[in-house]
Amino acid sequence: MRNPPAWLAGVCGSLEVSTDPVHDSQTTASQPPHAMTMRELIASIAHEVNQPLAAIVANADACLSWLGTDQPDLAHVREAAKRIIRDGYRASAVLSSIRALLKTSGPAMSELNLNQVIRDILELMRNELSRYDVVLQIDLCKQLGGVWGNRIQLQQVLINLIKNAIESMSDSVVRPLLVRVSTAIQGELAVVAVEDSGSGFDAVAAEQMFEPFFTTKREGTGVGLSICRSIVEAHGGVLCATRKESPGSVFQFTVPLIHPPISTQN
């Protein structure tokens, strides 16, 4: 595999810095817990950019090929040229989402729009979701106000929960494979929920899944959820998991709202 381009190294650096406090709390981990996620993210970005580039090259070749005949079929040429434009924008959109990641690098906390954080991550994971034939439902609460948080860390939590959701359904024969990401207001808290239609988890897993190194996955390291919990707790929130009535599970975390709505109950 080729080395990642320089601009990706920047993403790496900032992420490493940003997760350091979390890493320090996991002194027993032999490997930085974010390393795997980062590698996967880079592979995913490389793939996301390479696909439109491959399409652009093939479309341009097709253009030349259609033009090379005695009586060029201009309709085909036009279609191929349009696809080149579309794929160019597609590659650019991927880079924009990386730039959004970079913008708020550093461990500093800032006022965040959780809905936007979620939308950025889902854009990055779009390919991953369709790769596994997952139908994504997004249900974001429009009234959700800002929260105080570290964008990169919260994105890591989201990536982790969504990847877990996808993986929990990898053996499922039931279609559609459903991942639902939603936000809601609960008192003074913003609630983010990631639901899947997988097989759920058993009682043993329910007790231990937030423990470091607990995993039910063949290639899991078992640090993902424990890191997620540390991050959420560092934000003053709670991460918990519940089984659904219908097959599947819900992972949800809370983050305090900066300006909680005036409570109607209480």
Binding site: N50, I56, D87, R131
Partner: protein
């Protein structure tokens, strides 16, 4: 995505070789479809291995262009599934080729392993090789069908005689084995040669090997 693959108009011409593209990226799929169609090939573009299995398969020389990182199992997995049945030669396309995957794919019989974006010349050359390979495989398959048909026209006795003859037994030995006279065996043997349309014993031996007929265990002296 619609099931069964998308068949372009040129795919209807039976004389054209047929290229099946299996790639989950719609942009790549459309681009390759246009490129190969412009090169005069019939193209069936599939979004998944499921679509590929559902796609109609016209009886023409063809090849399969597979994305390595496909959903529902991946290209390498599809290659494994296909190993048990007649399938067109495979060309792999990959975003970033890693050596172990490439080696595994080629060892499992892939014609070529190209990295995206790939050069048109490389792609067309790989397709040409794959189509030529498929033509040969198809010719052999057709020959085997003909031989099977001829073999099915033999009488039960002639079917007993055939393996003994090609197994290198002398007429006398073969006759003894079946408990018939040498003259009778010779008559059967002549009929076998005629019905199988074999001009020589050597040719009959080659036919038996193509049909994978079980040969008698001849004791070595």
């Amino acid at each position: 995505m619609s099931g069964g693959g998308h068949v372009t108009k040129s795919a209807m011409k039976p004389a054209n070789p047929m290229v099946y593209i299996v790639d989950d990226d719609a942009g790549v799929r459309e681009a390759l479809d246009s490129l190969l169609t412009s090169a005069g090939m019939g193209v069936v573009a599939c979004a998944s291995t499921r679509d590929y299995f559902r796609a109609p398969k016209p009886d023409v020389p063809s090849c399969l262009i597979l994305d390595v990182g496909l959903p529902d199992g991946g290209g390498i997995e599809l290659q494994r599934q296909l190993r048990t049945e007649d399938h067109p030669p495979i060309i792999f396309l990959s975003g970033a080729s890693d050596i172990p995957t490439t080696v595994r794919a080629i060892k499992a019989g892939a014609v070529d392993f190209l990295t995206k974006p790939c050069r048109k010349a490389d792609l067309l050359a790989a397709i040409e090789t794959a189509i030529a390979q498929d033509c040969q495989v198809r010719a052999e398959r057709a020959e085997r069908m003909r031989l099977k048909h001829r073999h099915s026209c033999l009488t039960p006795r002639e079917r007993e005689v055939l393996p003994l003859v090609v197994g290198g037994l002398l007429n006398k030995q073969a006759a003894a084995k079946l408990g018939i006279s040498e003259t009778t065996l010779q008559i059967h043997r002549g009929r076998v040669m005629r019905k199988m349309e074999a001009d020589s014993l050597a040719q009959l031996v080659r036919m038996a090997s193509m049909l994978a007929l079980p040969l008698p265990l001849t004791k070595s002296h």
